[in-house]
Amino acid sequence: MTTPAKAFSESAQRYTADLPHRVWIQRALVGYYVKRDENKNRFQNWQSARDAAAEIKWDAVNHLDRYLEEFVAKLEARGTKIFWAKNAEDARNYIVGVARENKVRSVIKSKSMTAEEIHLNDALERAGFETVESDLGEYIVQLRREPPYHLVFPAMHLTRGQISDLFHEKLNSAPTDNPEDLTMIARRVMRQKFCAADMGVSGANFAIAETGMISITENEGNARLTTSLPKIHVALVGIEKILPKLSDLALFLPMLATAGAGQSLTCYNTLYGGPRQPGEVDGSEQFHVVLLDNRRTELLADAEQRDALHCIRCGACLNVCPIFKNVGGHSYGTTYQGPIGSVITPHLRGLHDWKHLSQASSLCGACTETCPVKINLHHHLLHNRRNAARAESFGGKILYRGFAFMMRRPKLYRFATRFARIAQPLQNLIQGTIFDPLRAWTKTRSFPKVAEKSFHQLWRERKKS
């Protein structure tokens, strides 16, 4: 069986050798950089805004029990059904159950990474409910039967030509190379789905404890339709989405838009505080909020990395990550790609299988620098490396111990550097072959030549003269 590490390594190798793909991703991100900086510069003080955002999320996450109880009490008081899901299976079963009980025929979905995390679409489809993604990018990757490439820009890896071919094949539409025409094809298809669907499933960007509301951020209007027309609305919410106060949105909405898509504010930022209330003309008859743990509490228990739960899923760290830009979103094999995915996946899905992601980093720190809520991302990758080393096998431990033993003994170190100079010509003979102990490195790169004289030697000579 292929391990996630092996799959990652193979896919990363394929993608990094794919120059057109790399150029494509770079080009797609250039526009984002320009817009992001433009909007950041409109802030009077972006850095202080980040400090404040980090402070607020720290408060929320470190008093999570209290805020969740407040959130739930407010929502329940207004007729919302709350379900606490310990894991993905709990959440899937509950949502499929709601669909069954209400004899739902079709389900319309708005974009939700949490739903991707629990593979909700598969579960609904297997139970016999047609489930359609309504976000354009998500719809495209759903038609291609592949996971989102990026947690904010799901179809950024595709060209208009590929999308036109896809629509032609699946929807029988006329080929076009105009993005507007392609968007209108999806709009027309989706309008029918919206009007027919009897259950809408959404995620949530924020959960406001003080007033008992969820907040959904989007540009297309699909989430608004998902939550307006069907008679049942189910929102799947990770327990870490809490914000203490309604007024916190005045900071978080502009920051999410700026960091996430280089906008001053996303087109629709909508708050839902219950099903249709007395005196209101429309809206869902049933409103279900599914609160998902799914090992978030394990990350919470790691005080050192607890701030990874501050994440607002803006995707800014992906956009600046040299690794993401080269290996591409699909190589990760995770729901959450890029630096944040590499940090949290070992917690959510097990360190043993996902520790390799901690190595998918140059530790340049661009992710930490760009994060609007100041998560210490690249240090957490180091923490995960350390944790993985602690759980290392006997052979690995011997290797690292030996290295440490040598590095602490100057005489031995000097001998080793001298030996390396002599041994290198021999290594050249076997470079890249299976006899080469450094094969992983030398297969695609030449090993740098060991210098004639070490720094120690040069230093000594210099002092003498």
Binding site: E69, G221, S228, L229, L246, G283, A301
Partner: protein
Amino acid sequence: MTNREIILGRIREALKISAPHPAFSEKAQIPSPPNLFQSSFQKWLPPVGETSDEQIELFRQNSENLKTDFRVCADVNEAVQYVKTLAVENHWGKIGTHHGELTNAVARELNLPKVQTDSGYAIADLESCDAGLTECESLIAQTGSVLVSAHSAGGRALSVLPPHHIVLARKNQMTPNLSIALQRAREKFGDTFPSFLSFITGPSRTGDIERILVLGAHGPKKLTILILP
């Protein structure tokens, strides 16, 4: 034990070990947490002028960037004339609207079939409207947004289902930023908020195909905002 007890138990267990407080809070120049939470964040967010004229001007600039059709009307008549022009230019056959002081004043002058959402409506009926005419809670200068609610905009769907959304607002509904807009909503509703509140910032859009901006993804392709005295 219920799931609720289990999850809350896990959280309380996890929080027994306290996490390091963000390092920056020790720096003198950052306000201490109590001040931080009381502030309205405005000192860090993009600047907004204090006078009504400055705010309307900022709203106009933002509208231009967002491709919102924004206009200040001298009186109701001017608004009526403008909406009539839109109706002719865009060949409207039917509009959706709701009862309100401003919407009624404009809608009764339009010689078009109407879907009033107030007393309930059929989805297909509203979907076939060419425009939705609504009022709003407030306008936000800083971001060029309009805050609508289930109460002020004829429900949830009227402001998103028809392809052209027209908002009628009073000049005194202009607010500087999101904080003040939310505060006003709180003053108005107290603890009984409507089940739906939405900040609308420009017409519906997407960049999902090659990051190229396309207006009218699923919601309105056009957004018109008219300010009356």
